[in-house]
Symmetry: C2
Subunit: 320 residues, 2 copies
């Protein structure tokens, strides 16, 4: 039996996650789902967006299906997503970007770099320590190399011309790529952002540090028309969280217009991660068939609602 924690979160998370969950349930009746409440809504009601008990519940799951969270306008508030990534040590943020002429996977180190949390304020300046550890670099390099080995090649996004801390990262990637026998090239992150946009066909798997990956993956989303359809995975040892890249979009919430594709595709990544690539492929293909049949939510120019689109995918999955 497989246990999947479901975190709807806020806004459209509460509409797209149930759709994805129903599809997972259809292809894998053995999954036991349990809900975990986290986010802004909970914070408004209880004063806490996420606590130790929540983390323990998430920790007990084989995988987490995650929606999106609204950030409260409270300066003291810490991102729940960051809290969870850190608590479960979800070190690999994986963002596949596929479209016309684009088939790239961005693998972002997800626990350190500028997200170290080591920060202080002096009277006249504020400092954050960018931490690049050997262990952190090696494990993300290993993850990216394993992925690149089953694909084509690896590009290491870095800024070692300015940051000594990136020399360690580059070294670790060089060593892992050699060990794995993966062709590997290096590119400064600024130049990489531009070149990925100009020549997406030159890239396959890209590995980089935390905030560079954060920025690069948003820039790369331009190649497929924005964040709307992109899934992502946050992978650790024994824990993994799957989430659409888009946010909670409170402005369009509760209108049955949100596009559930990113959430459904995140569900497919979850199935793959659970060792069931066949079900993952079945879900992916069902989405593609529904799109080819011309069924679309309003953001793609269609008239289908969130639920209707989900029902159509569910039908196709049954047929597949």
């Amino acid at each position: 039996m497989v246990k999947v924690a479901v975190v709807e979160g806020d806004g459209i998370g509460r509409e797209v996650v149930p759709v994805a969950r129903d599809i997972l349930a259809a292809v894998r009746p053995d999954i036991e789902f349990f809900d975990v409440e986290v986010g802004y809504g909970r914070w408004e009601r209880t004063g806490s967006a996420c606590d130790e008990e929540t983390i323990a519940a998430l920790r007990s799951a084989d995988a987490i299906l995650f929606g999106a969270i609204t950030t409260p306008p409270d300066p003291g508030y810490r991102s729940v997503l960051m809290q969870i990534r850190r608590a479960l040590d979800l070190y690999a943020n994986v963002r596949p970007i596929r479209g016309e002429g684009v088939d790239v996977v961005i693998v972002r180190e997800n626990t350190e770099g500028l997200y170290s949390g080591i920060e202080w304020t002096e009277p006249d300046r504020a400092c954050t320590v960018r931490v690049v550890s050997r262990r952190g670099s090696e494990r993300i390099a290993r993850y990216a190399c394993t992925l690149a080995k089953s694909r084509r090649h690896l590009t290491v996004g870095n800024k070692a011309n300015v940051l000594k801390s990136d020399c360690l990262f580059v070294e670790a990637c060089t060593a892992e790529a050699a060990r794995a026998g993966v062709p590997c090239t290096f590119c400064y992150i600024d130049a990489l952002c531009l070149d990925l946009l100009m020549h997406p066909d030159r890239y396959d798997v890209i590995v980089t540090t935390n905030i560079f990956g954060d920025i690069l993956s948003d820039a790369a989303a331009y190649l497929v028309g924005g964040l709307g359809l992109l899934p992502s995975a946050n992978i650790g040892e024994g824990h993994a969280l799957f989430e659409p890249v888009h946010g909670s979009a409170p402005d369009i919430a509760d209108k049955n217009v949100a596009n559930p594709i990113a959430a459904i595709r995140s569900g497919a990544m979850l199935l793959s991660h659970l060792g069931d690539p066949a079900s993952a492929a079945a879900v992916e293909e069902a989405v593609d068939r529904v799109l080819r049949a011309g069924i679309r939510t309003p953001d793609l120019g269609g008239a289908a609602g969130t639920r209707e689109f989900g029902a159509a995918v569910l039908r196709e999955v049954g047929r597949g």
Copy 2:
């Protein structure tokens, strides 16, 4: 009399800078130029790419016309450009990006952030301190607000949802924008990279911290087909350096094929900075007329050489 230091640097810097210099000399016969040797060529010959004496010479100039420098494959080598920016405290890196539907100026803080140089290596990790100072934030905010006041509005690129050090930056920009009466909005740097690509018309002046500006300006260059034609300014108190955004491109050097437009436009920014917007406009317009006449270097599909393109601009400037 105005003193302009000329740093050709390496590669195509040695071809495009003389072209720009001749054009400046034509519109402003009162400029006294003097050469300063800096870069890889010098490093190969003398073991030093730039020293105190060089810095003193650059410091004595009213403005610096700069080409491009090849980075030697020496891990101990420090970027000469970074050295000069720091020594002359060139705190504002200004990159105008203009094209079909795009008229944006990126103002990047150029002296601190992740470029603090405060770095250390421990046995198992390497650290870099990102420093955001109140003074540094206030002066770049003031620079950006002054610019935005003569244009339309300001966007502040930041990552204050993750980095406490960016709260200080956001605060400083908020205060300066209020003081200057400039409409000001805030955007997380990852979302900004994507939204600038998707909706360039929504942006005017963008101010951000050092490495975010480095990455954002490369991504934005996609909107105008790459770095090739983009000029930039590095501005301090009493010192200023103007350089094409492109590099030294050793692969195409010494072939009379490099496009000198970015260098010429950097020259126009230099004239503006010296308080001569009329001459700056004359140079800009001369370039536009030459392009309209169909004279182009090979990168733009033409057959004109670097020198021939320069000569054509020189003729137009004479006519203007």
